[in-house]
Symmetry: C2
Subunit: 548 residues, 2 copies
């Protein structure tokens, strides 16, 4: 299993040092007993307030170090991957940050953590410190479990108790509040795969058609293997378990939507959307996440945690913290949560048909020429590309011919904008966009009273800017630019058409295309073949010249 | 490939609605032309400032919608997965948020985006709007590439230009600053696997021994397949490419460390640590991430982007935003970035040896009894657990015997603390922690002048609290509690020993263990077997009674 680690034995210390060096909260440090004692502490802490310490095995990042900071934890005690920290480590944390106000330990319900944090608490008490411990057991996967596991709902405790501590609550008040709070938290996880413990072989014990419900955050087997299904269906399954656990008595909950490790952001957003379609969401007035809060290494799954809201909880959950891993909270108001604003009317100027017979005739003859050239152009393109240049230019020509009687020939700028519009709507492909850009920019120049050669050159320059190609790149520019340059220099249309033809023919000798689809074609295949876009432009110039 | 999606066709709109409903920034909305036009806009925007619009294909979440908000983007235009948004969508965005100050489009260098944003810009200009466009082409994967791709370095442009726009810079100033800025950004990606486009089969075109350098954010093939290696080695490889691109002229850079999709947080932290070990890191004074910024669906990879810092950049990068997906910035100071504080000395009270012959004799006889019982206890445990209860209690007994002459027998509390310490250090396992807790809590009670029975009962209660077991759970408590209750009721040690023995024997009839390792053993296997922990306690009571 390919993973981004160095050695299994250093993964936790490397991750913690990587975190400490890069987290925007610069008021964090580690105790010097590293690596045996992996304790992350606030350095902006004054001991007049009650200390909040949490921790446990690693592999749950950003928990727990990521939640140390003003308004949440005072310190985090980190064990090796999925292993409780030692009594000595917990004791070191308590001694480092605890003053007269005392210390509350927030511990997830695992035997190792309970005992190691518990014994450290007793030792600290023997040394004269005031210490209390609260155990979080929010997992509802196994109904009536004797010892439910502590999972992502622990974040509610970190945030709310952290807030109260910051407000100056006493140790007794905090311990009581935390004990009461933990009884109102309900979590369940669902994953498409288990996690990979560094150094272990990955165990693919779920089939491609299976997902797992109610698994632990250490890859413990779940309560049921279920059939893999759409996100909405899997989310509903998870919600069903929560609904069984919370009953019908209350309808004001907060949600944590937790990424268990490797679900990409777009899928977490889809899961958030799926949650909002459930009936359970009607009871949820506040959401935290989707975010990585309590992960299980690279587990491809999510968990939802619900907190039955009591007075004061909202304020605590919304309160600002200096903790970068805390994603913030958002109030939900049913479907109205997604505001919709009116899209502006597309009040482009309408075009009043008007007359200029010479220009109209030129437009018509160019269109007819391109329609007639369609098969030739497709054949050229088939040699070096996907064989549709003729179809693309032909489409454009047909739609312009269809609109021939509606165009504003008497006003050059309007005509340019109208042609740009038609090309954008109907020509398709990159060349459609490029031609539309050419005429839009030419129209702008015309509004500034530019001559036709200058206006079209201005369009060609915008085309180059947006398209990224230039002369010599084996594109339609190789015919267009010589033709326009000739016109700008005062040459006749016939002379310009000759320059465009020479430019087009010259592309046959260019064995390297730098833009367009031909850029992916080997030079030998290009040799002797005129670029079909340049060919189209040369024929258009010739048609215009013949008409003049 | 199992992924959390519903339908391929709805993934982008569902993800955007999921994002809009849950992001802590409530001042966002979508245009009503959804789903054809997927535009996310600020609702707290006043048009006196220049509008900053970005966007492109989806699948890069949180980009681009996740960066809309005060101090960054005014709007994001989102296409389908990896597909440019339409001209109409970009135009709708421009019209929705642009006022007299004009609009700057920030576009990653892909032909589709350039043309669609470009044409929309030209149309908006034709309608009288002031529009400029800047193209970001930060990918250094292909040296001397004609058209380098735009990747995660785009975030530098969003943040710095967003800041300047918020400060009131003019459109011309912003366009000039953005064009100058893009020339100072250098990015490269490295992945262990390509991404899975929803609805497509996953293509495992990298072997288990391969990684890929310089791949695009749409799963475009990279510039080289490289050998999979440790995180530090892969990071060095990526840094080498950046060093080639940036040259030696400057030494003040900012870093973006970007998660390309599915790298779990602990591994991104390891990668951050690995980056800090490179020589390139010596030129980096400011870091953003690790975080999801510009992802490629579920790609298991990372990218690094360096910005050559110019005056004003730092202020812009550090400025507060209301954008939850922006991870904040952190100043780096070489290795000193990780602060280390001294671990508090473990100033536990030392124990002065002192005498109390009766108690010392009791300690000795209990130790001898447990040593003698080791084999019996192991055999009992082998029937229902892992066969080490005798060894565990025996170890504890041996270490206490070794310390027999150093213990403070004359002071009950000190004796309890000393025993707790010895048990914590040497007994091991859950029972070691539990016994250590019992004596630590008993010591505390003794300091409050409790009697021995009350002090030990107090210890048993703490043991229950931390351990989570209670009487009847088939643990040592089933002998301990009856024995201590008898003592508390004024019974003799002999009577207490009898009660402990009856309690221990009673565990043989308990066919369900609720705590400890036996909790995982079927009831039939437990039937008739005395719990070895309870047996140990009963023998200890008997030994103490015989000695008295």
């Amino acid at each position: 299993m390919k993973r981004f680690i160095n050695s299994k034995s250093d993964i936790v210390t490397e991750a913690l040092d990587g975190f400490l060096a890069t987290t925007p909260n610069a008021f964090l440090a580690r105790l010097d007993a590293y690596p045996h004692t992996k304790v992350i502490v606030r350095t902006d802490w004054d001991k007049s307030r009650v200390t909040i310490i949490s921790g446990g095995g690693s592999g749950h990042e950003p928990a727990h170090a990521g939640f140390v900071g003003q308004g949440m934890l005072t310190a985090a005690v980190c064990g090796e991957i999925f292993a409780s920290p030692s009594v000595e480590a917990v004791l070191a944390a308590i001694l480092a940050v605890t003053g007269d106000a005392g210390c509350l330990l927030i511990v997830k319900n695992y035997t190792g953590d309970r005992l190691n944090f518990g014994l450290a608490a007793e030792r600290a008490k023997a040394m004269g410190y005031k210490v209390e411990m609260v155990i979080v057991a929010d997992d509802v996967a196994i109904p009536g479990a004797h010892q439910p596991r502590g999972v992502a709902g622990t974040l509610f405790v970190h945030k709310i108790i952290g807030f109260l501590a910051e407000q100056g609550a006493s140790l007794q008040q905090l311990a009581q509040a935390a004990n009461e709070l933990t009884r109102r938290i309900f979590s369940i996880g669902l994953s498409l795969d288990t996690c990979t413990v560094p150094g272990n072989q990955r165990q693919d014990y779920l089939a491609a058609t299976e997902a797992e419900l109610g698994l632990g955050i250490h890859g413990e087997p779940g309560v049921a293997k279920i059939t893999f299904a759409a996100a909405a269906s899997l989310m509903q399954t998870a919600c069903n378990e929560i609904e069984k656990a919370i009953g019908d008595d209350h309808d004001h909950y907060a949600l944590i939507l937790n990424n268990l490790g490797s679900v990409p952001p777009i899928e977490m957003q889809v899961l958030a959307h799926s949650f909002l379609q459930t009936t359970l969401s009607e009871k949820v007035g506040l959401v935290i996440g989707p975010a990585h809060l309590m992960t299980s290494l690279d587990m491809n799954g999510f968990s939802i945690s619900l907190l039955q809201l009591a007075p004061g909880d909202k304020e605590a959950l919304f309160a600002d913290v200096t903790v970068a891993s805390w994603p913030g909270a958002r109030e939900l108001h049913g479907t109205a949560s997604v505001s919709v604003v009116a899209s502006p009317a597309e009040d482009r100027p309408g075009f009043e048909p008007s007359e200029n017979k010479a220009i109209k005739a030129t437009v018509l003859t160019v269109c007819n020429t391109l329609l007639a050239a369609a098969e030739d152009l497709n054949q050229l393109d088939a040699l070096i590309g996907d064989g549709d240049t003729g179809t693309t230019f032909g489409n454009a020509a047909r739609y312009i011919k269809d609109a021939l009687e509606q165009l504003p020939y008497a006003t050059d700028a309007s005509l340019c904008f109208a042609l740009s519009d038609l090309l954008a709507r109907h020509m398709g492909g990159s060349s459609g966009a490029l031609m539309a850009i050419l005429f839009a920019a030419a129209g702008e120049a015309k509004e500034q009273a530019a001559s036709w050669p200058s206006a079209l050159m201005s369009g060609a320059q915008r085309m180059m800017f947006y398209g990224g190609a230039k002369q010599g790149d084996r594109t339609m520019l190789d015919a267009l630019l010589p033709g326009l340059e000739a016109l700008q220099a005062g040459s006749s249309l016939a002379e310009a058409a000759k320059a465009a033809r020479e430019g087009a023919d010259g592309t046959a000798d260019m064995t390297r295309a730098k833009a367009g689809r031909a850029a992916y074609v080997p030079g030998a295949s290009l040799n002797g073949v005129v670029d079909p876009g340049a060919e189209a432009i040369a024929r258009a110039f010739a048609a215009a010249a013949n008409n003049s």
